[in-house]
């Protein structure tokens, strides 16, 4: 039996509630605090989330209500491509302090355009380089933001 999406979401909500509650118990007590306490509202939110999770689980298991989302059948490829794009963004995050902003933003522009379907060639390379120059001028010069320079 495959779980309906409501049931899966309910389980996620319950897990989230549990983890968040555990986090709330870790909040240190302070003599500067009030009667509600720094952990008071988080505990309430965790219980609320648990209730919502239970409701969703119940709806998914007992009523087994079919939802629109259950009909959404995305091919595995969709998720893989999203993951790959996320990988490129994480690479940008990691590489910026090393290579510097102008280089990484050019790499990001080039690789994402290529991945999204632009044909590799001079047009793509030119767009990436000019685009990077444009962003660099806009943020570093016009806005005066100290973008990471990297090893330069």
């Amino acid at each position: 039996m495959t779980l309906s999406k409501d049931a899966v979401l309910g389980l996620i909500a319950l897990a989230l509630a549990g983890a968040y509650y555990a986090g709330a118990t870790q909040i240190q007590a302070s003599l500067l605090s009030d009667a509600v306490g720094a952990d008071g509202v988080p505990r309430v939110l965790a219980w609320g989330m648990a209730a919502v999770g239970a409701g969703l689980l119940l709806r998914g298991l007992v009523w087994r209500r079919k939802t629109e989302e259950d009909d959404e059948t995305l091919p595995l490829r969709h998720h893989v491509r999203a993951l790959a794009l996320l990988g490129m963004l994480i690479a940008y995050l990691v590489l910026t302090p090393v290579l510097g902003y102008p280089v990484t933003v050019a790499l990001l522009l080039g690789s994402v355009s290529w991945f999204a379907g632009a044909r590799p060639g001079t047009a793509l390379a030119a767009t990436a380089l000019l685009g990077a120059g444009f962003f660099w001028v806009m943020f570093t010069w016009a806005l005066g933001i100290p973008m990471p320079a990297g090893f330069f």
């Binding site: 302070s30 003599l31 500067l32 010069w141 016009a142 806005l143 005066g144 100290p146």
Partner: protein
């Protein structure tokens, strides 16, 4: 933008009428002054006003950089990691010591070396004009007579002001609810609409209400009376043994050469004594208290020990 503003600053240098002191050229330009306060906030305005007067004297340009996040921890870390060539400084206030003690960030206040202290900020207790209280002693008497009814306010949680109010409760032996806020504006609203008996803050935060006669000062938490408000009694005179020192200064990464430190001391002394700057900081009731590096180091150390003791006494830290 930054380049344009540098040009604008250079232009100002020409126009300024200050006598340019004869001294050795400062080795770095532009000098970056980092603050944790947001643009327009207390330290930000302090730096921007100061640099206006420093530029013609030192002959270099200045850039103010707002590095927010982590209640000052991010800005401190940034400056601590910069090169000790006199090119980067952090605008110090008690906040960076409080944050170091309370949140224990990677780089604490010990990671920086104080280079000058410029001003002391007097802390005042104030209430709205309609309030029945005329002095701090009145308000304390009210709190004594009505246990659990007194309501006091400070701008931020875990701030120096908050700690001061907690100490006030202890020293005076009264019970009071201390409400914290998201900044001085929120606090002012709750003082003006009568939610609070009184609030605590710096003169510059309440200046406009004070001028308009909407708030009344109840007491000042300094050793001596303020020259601008000779009638305003200190807490000590009102029988409450509580003083709070707030300071403004600069600190840099460790290892700044002595000649640069000496240059800062002479420059700051000259600028603080100039009439043009006096007129500006006088409006904010800042008390000039210039200290060079050696003094500033000792002062900061003493301050940190005091704050640590207070926090321990209140049971906030172990």
């Amino acid at each position: 933008m930054k380049r344009l503003s540098v040009v604008a600053l250079a232009g100002l240098a020409f126009l300024a009428t200050e006598p340019v002191l004869a001294q050795t050229k400062y080795p770095v330009s532009p000098v970056t002054l980092v603050t944790h306060s947001s643009p327009g906030g207390g330290s930000d305005v302090f730096l921007r006003e100061l640099t206006k007067h420093l530029t013609p004297v030192m002959g270099v340009s200045f850039a103010v950089e707002n590095v927010r996040g982590g209640s000052g921890a991010a800005a401190v870390a940034k400056v601590a990691k910069s090169a000790p060539n006199g090119g980067t400084f952090y605008a110090t206030t008690p906040t960076y010591i409080q944050t170091s003690l309370l949140s224990k960030p990677e780089v604490g206040y010990e990671g920086l070396d104080p280079i000058v202290i410029v001003f002391l900020d007097p802390e005042v207790i104030y209430t709205r004009a309609e309030s029945p209280f005329k002095t701090l002693a009145d308000a304390i008497a009210h709190a004594k007579a009505n246990p659990g009814k007194a309501k006091w306010g400070a701008a931020n949680p875990a701030s120096l002001e908050r700690i001061a109010l907690e100490r006030l409760k202890r020293t005076a032996g009264v019970q009071a609810a201390v409400a914290t806020h998201e900044g001085g504006g929120d606090l002012m609203i709750n003082v003006l609409n009568g939610t609070l008996d009184f609030g605590i803050g710096e003169i510059q935060e309440i200046r406009s209400q004070l001028d308009a006669g909407k708030v009344r000062l109840l007491g000042v938490l300094t050793d001596k009376r303020l020259p601008d408000f000779p009638q305003l009694a200190t807490a000590k005179e009102q029988g409450i043994d509580l003083t709070v020192t707030k300071f403004r200064g600069l600190a840099g990464p460790k290892g700044i050469p002595d000649d640069i430190a000496a240059q800062w001391e002479t420059t700051i002394r000259a600028v603080v004594a100039s009439d043009a700057y006096k007129a500006e900081y006088g409006k904010e009731s800042l008390v000039p208290a210039v200290m060079g590096r050696a003094e500033a180091r000792a002062f900061t150390q003493r301050f940190a020990v005091d704050v640590t003791n207070n926090l321990k006494e209140l049971g906030v830290i172990k």
